[in-house]
Symmetry: C2
Subunit: 345 residues, 2 copies
DNA sequence: TTGTCGAGTTAGAGCGCTCCAACTGTAGAC
DNA sequence: GTCTACAGTTGGAGCGCTCTAACTCGACAA
């Protein structure tokens, strides 16, 4: 811990308090408190006098004092694994909207992909006595998360922690993979390869969904998984590997949009066309996929709804009006320009 | 949507306090407080007993109580205008790193592009008595910001507010525009058009920088500004307009990367090549620009450094060891594949 | 008249912590 | 032996608010 000498700011000697307002308005502290919280049992006259005194002083309730006394913060902490990933932005929008509806505030923290920072951010949330926590794309161990869940209501988005006592909201990634494969199958593709996400979150179900779908379509022998890691670079390398292989697949399903873009680039540089020679499907429907220049067919996760579902479930649980559970949401296929009929039919 | 309910976990009814720890350790509350703050004037024995008691109870200092009593929060509020824009992610990284060095915590808020939400988030910061505030890409009025700056140390990133009494960190956008134009000039381009950002932040200096640079190169008559708004769509429309014009420019400088991508797409669809027929330069050096598939030449803003500078200046001011001022940082040119020698030489 | 009621208001006891001044006890100086 | 110094420790007074229980007071019923 740092030791800093703090010289109080000269900007203001000290903010006005309830007491000051009460004095000016000529009423008790308690009454000012009631007015500040919009209590109905205050006479119009008192309300007006207090309101005037407050705005005259520029009074602003001190949240720390309020929360300390009220023993609840009406705040939920949101831990974002990686601010750079736009996935989290939309998720946060959903959380924001739902929380607002219940009168809850959000405090966000970015873990910058580091489990150490994740853990520290959670400590801060707990120290701030937030009423609930939402972790998105959390990479922490189940044990650590369980210890957090023991202290505060917790919902995880994008990953489930079966025994940790927390709720979760995820999409059915395997089903998304199935959609991708069946879409390609419907276009006549039979040799469909998958560039996976390695050990990243969501990678395993996408891969297994792909394999299962291929089997169910009688394409088990054509299934080909190239290992990747959710990056553009990995998508490019995976595509290169496929181009060097004995039989070029007519379609590639990648673990995410970024990998898909990497793959597209390599395929096109090799003189082939997308989707003419090789069709490509991504995953996540990021803003990247929607660029006209890319027009990537991809699997969409209802991020905003997921955020709203997570916040709603959490808040209902906080208020003892519901319980934490595991919510599984359905992805959907977004068809753009990188898929088309197989030329190899 | 599938739903599964967990057995609710048993959550602690109330967290242990300093008092509890003191009792178990057999010392006074004040001493426990000292240990918790790593004070050097505690005997090793006491320190050990307190530490043990604390961890035995799972004690965690209550930040609200601490901050209330200490009259300082060691926290700075960071207001991000738009979480969806990756620009803010890197900026936040820089702020984060600098704040950490001083032992300050961050609380982030996303305004989702709405001035109303911006204002509300600032209210929350003030109510939480943060020690300082950083606003990034803030769209609020100077008057409103001035009133905030009157209550707490404030630094604005990406925009200056001359009279508001706050510090600022910005890049020399006009100089970035100059770099773009001179780069193109150096490649032999003479007919260089600009698709601007309309009323968006940073648009004006980029535009005027472009115009000034054109004039200084004796190209004032060739200067052509098409109005846009920082979106892909605007870039596309701008390019279409240029394509329909009497004389096609050999280079386009757009207000940001997104617009550049829109422009590239339109130019290529028209059967022209980039950079062969038309060279394109963006602005911001977002991750988009770095995609191999796009390879956009662009102007980079040192976002991380800007964040660090903002946080450092703010904290130094909070501690009365420095003053808030206006910091102007230099952008730099990042050359990729969308620019090359002019064919029209 | 007395009592009851409800609307409006209030005093006062915390919430969990920090900070200050004052205290204890031991070691060294004289 | 007393005095000083200092390291270590402590009680208690807040920080600014909420919450509970109790109070006041006029209206109205008995």
């Amino acid at each position: 811990m740092h030791y800093l000498v703090h010289v109080p700011s000269t900007r203001r000697n000290s903010a006005p308090t309830l007491e000051d307002v009460a004095q000016i308005a000529g009423v008790s502290r308690a009454l000012v408190s009631l007015v500040m919280r919009d209590s109905p049992r205050v006479s119009d006259e008192s309300r007006q006098r207090v309101t005037e005194a407050a705005s005259k002083l520029g009074y602003r309730p001190n949240l720390m004092a309020r929360n300390l006394a009220a023993r609840r913060t009406m705040t939920i902490g949101v831990l974002l694994n990686d601010l750079h990933n736009p996935w989290f932005a939309e998720l946060t929008d959903g959380i924001h909207i739902a929380a607002e509806r219940y009168g809850y505030q959000l405090i966000l923290a970015s873990a910058r992909r580091s489990p150490r920072l994740e853990s520290r951010a959670l400590d801060t949330f707990l120290a701030s006595r937030v009423d609930g926590v939402i972790v998105a794309g959390c990479r922490l161990s189940a044990v650590r998360l369980e210890s957090v869940a023991a202290e505060v209501a917790l919902v995880s988005v994008g990953r489930t922690f079966p025994k940790a006592g927390c709720g979760s909201v995820t999409t059915d990634e395997a089903d998304g993979a199935r959609m991708a494969v069946e879409h390609l199958y419907g276009l006549g593709h039979r040799r469909i390869a998958h560039i996976d996400g390695g050990k990243g979150a969501g990678s395993a179900p996408r891969r297994s969904g792909y394999i299962r779908a291929m089997r169910q379509l009688g394409l088990g022998d054509n299934a080909q998984v190239i290992s990747g890691d959710f990056t553009e670079e990995a998508g490019a390398q995976g595509a290169e590997k496929l181009l060097r292989g004995p039989v070029l697949p007519t379609a590639i399903f990648t673990a995410n949009d970024l990998s898909a873009v990497g793959a597209i680039d390599v395929v096109e540089r090799a003189g082939l066309t997308v989707p003419g020679d090789v069709a490509i499907v991504g995953f996540d429907n990021t803003s990247l996929a929607a660029l006209k220049h890319i027009g990537l067919t991809t699997i969409d996760q209802p991020r905003r709804e997921m955020g709203a579902a997570a916040a709603t479930m959490l808040i209902e649980a906080i208020n003892d009006r519901g319980e934490l559970g595991d919510v599984l949401m359905s992805p959907s296929l977004v068809i753009r320009r990188t898929t088309g009929p197989s030329a190899a039919v």
